[in-house]
Point group: C2
Chain length 217, copies 2
């Protein structure tokens, strides 16, 4: 039985591939693993049967035989540890790749997620514009550090890994903001991620879900 | 050779054990592993030789033979995978514990870190009080979900694991805010973490560093 993941019935990102099921889809595509998708509505995400799988009422979840997982970072790591193509073989290389996975989620993504707070959750507040400038500065300081480290390499540490999958996914949130444009190597890095066949298949799959929901009206 | 970690020469938390070297110290103490500490000043953290170890100019780092790691979550996972006492033996139990590690860092901690933004980074802004209320509401909604899931269990999923180590560390940031007081089971959970001998040894070690720096003046 292939694993089953959950995804938004109608993603709030409008099909741009920013919802976190995309990271799991991409990992499964890189690993060449088939999967099933169960779509959940916003109200179903808060219902007891989903909360039993995901204590915080979010997507994605991952069900495989009698294992139930949540947290996209953990699911990507689980897939990467069990299939070839997403983590290096040597123990030290592997530990460093996992460190970069945590860096993507715990150091680079948090200021980027603040854009959602500023623009959407608090988009009607009088402090919106002044805070937006502060948050953008915090993002730029992270991007600068990441840009220096990446330098002219294709990927973060040797061959493409689950760390790049997560880092590219995190940086893709900045696409519409223009903030990536000042960091030519980071923009090219993101484009390399998007050009991977596995990314394209995952992106198409999540877009098809969004388009199907939209056509229903 | 025992591993060497880096820590603040003078922690901005005043020795309360909230800096991220504490999580690594605690993990090493749970695993019964000796370690060395190299203290770094704020200016040394941004210097090229430290940035070579930690691309974002932060602490902690972890050096063991020819392996260099950064990101406290990754370091704790590395220690937990190599020594007994921090992860269950069975593969599925282990995967779920790792999922809870990601949940602590990626779902529970982000709104809690916003308290630092509100109170310190933007503590002089006119929106401080109104935003503080919004951030506290976001924290409470996460705490409520976590409290429901924990219920009357001692730990998140079976025996104490690296997931509890990280979750307790994250919740400890709330101690001075009073926000934990409404969730009796979470407050007791944090107290159980603090009562562990390994936690106490790690706490004493980081406090000794802070006190030594303070006595120098």
């Amino acid at each position: 039985m292939p694993p089953t993941i959950t995804a938004f019935e109608r993603s709030p990102d409008g099909g741009r591939g920013l919802a976190r099921d995309m990271r799991v889809r991409w990992a499964l595509e890189e690993a060449g693993q088939p999967y099933e998708v169960r779509l959940v509505s916003f109200s179903a995400m808060k219902a007891p049967d989903h909360v039993a799988l995901q204590p915080f009422g979010q997507i994605p979840t991952y069900e495989e035989d009698d294992l139930v997982l949540f947290e996209s970072g953990a699911i990507v790591l689980h897939i990467a540890e069990r299939h070839a193509g997403l983590l290096p073989d040597h123990a030290n290389d592997r530990a460093r790749a996992i460190a970069w996975m945590f860096a993507a989620l715990d150091t680079v993504e948090p200021p980027i997620l603040e854009l959602i707070t500023v623009k959407i959750l608090e988009g009607d507040k009088p402090w919106r514009n002044e805070r937006l400038a502060l948050v953008e500065d915090r993002i730029r300081s992270r991007l600068k550090q990441l840009s220096v480290r990446l330098d002219d390499a294709d990927w973060l540490d040797g061959a493409f890994s689950a760390a790049d999958l997560l880092m590219v996914s995190v940086l893709l949130r900045l696409k519409s903001s223009g903030l990536l444009d000042d960091y030519v190597n980071l923009a090219a890095y993101v484009a390399r991620g998007e050009a991977r066949p596995a990314y394209k298949r995952a992106f198409a799959a999540q877009l098809a879900v969004f388009n199907a929901a939209s056509s229903v009206g």
